[in-house]
């Protein structure tokens, strides 16, 4: 399946939410923002695996004999959902991409992103979008190598957010 590492990529199921939750926390710690997680395993189960899911997931899994030092066979994941470009139509947005540190450099990340690309193309999408933190050099390099381009640098598009009190005030029409 890849360079000397035996792994499979498959759609996430309800049962995977425990491991997704675990790896989410690992990713948040890597991005130095673990205190910002408000979502629980239960929320993931409800939001991703009910009749109208808000996201989809894929899992990278290794056989038992190759599992991680702390005993996990599920060692990577990606969360994605469908969006819409008013210029080009259907698009897929990759929200999270993560491979446990001890399993990196074996083509697993590349296989996960390829799967999201495949699923996106099958659903009629013409682009895959995602965001990367500007200090995350290794990720930036990985993505640039896959043929993507930095829309923020090239077109000056900034990601904006309105939340909490500001969102409530906006809903009431105050400003």
């Amino acid at each position: 399946m890849s360079r000397g590492m035996d792994f499979t990529i498959r759609p996430a199921t309800l049962e995977d939410c425990k491991d997704i939750s675990r790896m989410l926390l690992e990713l948040a710690e890597y991005e130095k923002v673990s205190d910002q997680i408000k979502i629980t395993q239960r929320d993931l189960e409800q939001d991703g695996f009910s009749k109208n899911p808000f996201f989809h997931g894929i899992i990278a899994e290794v056989p038992e004999h190759l599992k991680s030092k702390d005993g996990h066979p599920k060692i990577g994941y990606s969360l994605y959902f469908y969006t819409y470009s008013s210029w080009k139509g259907r698009a897929v947005y990759m929200e999270d991409l993560y491979v446990m540190p001890e399993f990196r450099g074996k083509g697993i990340g590349k296989a996960l992103i390829a799967k999201v690309a495949q699923l996106g193309l099958a659903a009629g999408c013409t682009q895959l979008n995602f965001t990367v933190l500007d200090w995350n050099k290794s990720s930036l390099d990985f993505y640039l190598k896959q043929g993507c381009w930095d829309v923020t640098s090239d077109l000056g598009y900034h990601c904006m957010r309105c939340e909490g009190d500001a969102l409530q005030h906006m809903a009431q029409g105050d400003h």
Binding site: D47, W87, A114, Q127, R161, A171
Partner: protein, 171 residues
């Protein structure tokens, strides 16, 4: 101009929606980038699993635009997900025709959108703005929006179809 209504877009609106998308793209100097057709909008917005939602601003006949239109503004949005904080409302496009600005139509659209966000238990509304678009940045900042690219260093990336296909071929 107190006389306008905001309503959910209907299949018959796709022609006006496309017209306004192109007008907004023209303002962003990206008019030739719009490849979407009315058929796409119809299929993708009004089927069983819509890819987007739209609200339109409608004025009475007697206030129609110089070129004869009564749909004079719109917002296109969809729901996204942040696995740390949950559901979000993503604002894809937001536009009011030039001759109808300054009457509070934009503010009302934004109010309706934020109401939708709060009602559907979204913790945030996200969107992108071009850094050269000072009037829009001011409009949003006045309403409490923060610039994640500046404050947290987020950079938006894209992979287009050609490279997506290359990626899937290599596996």
């Amino acid at each position: 101009m107190s006389m306008f209504i905001l309503r959910k877009a209907e299949p018959k609106d796709v022609s006006d929606i496309l017209r306004l998308i192109k007008e907004l793209a023209k303002y962003e100097e990206m008019e030739n980038q719009v490849l979407l057709t009315e058929e796409d909008l119809l299929e993708d917005g009004f089927g069983d699993h819509p890819f987007y939602h739209c609200i339109v601003a409608h004025v009475p006949e007697e206030h129609q635009s110089a070129d004869g239109h009564v749909i004079i503004g719109f917002a296109m949005y969809y729901f996204t997900y942040d696995p740390w904080i949950g559901k979000l409302l993503y604002l894809e496009d937001f536009y009011v025709m030039k001759e109808y600005r300054g009457f509070g139509i934009g503010s009302e659209i934004l109010k309706k959108l934020s109401n939708t966000a709060v009602r559907t238990r979204c913790s945030s509304m996200h969107f992108i703005v071009a850094e050269w678009n000072k009037p829009s940045i001011e409009f949003y900042k006045r309403r409490g929006a923060s610039d994640l690219s500046l404050e947290e260093g987020w950079r938006l990336f894209k992979i287009d179809k050609q490279n997506l296909m290359k990626m899937t071929d290599e596996e």
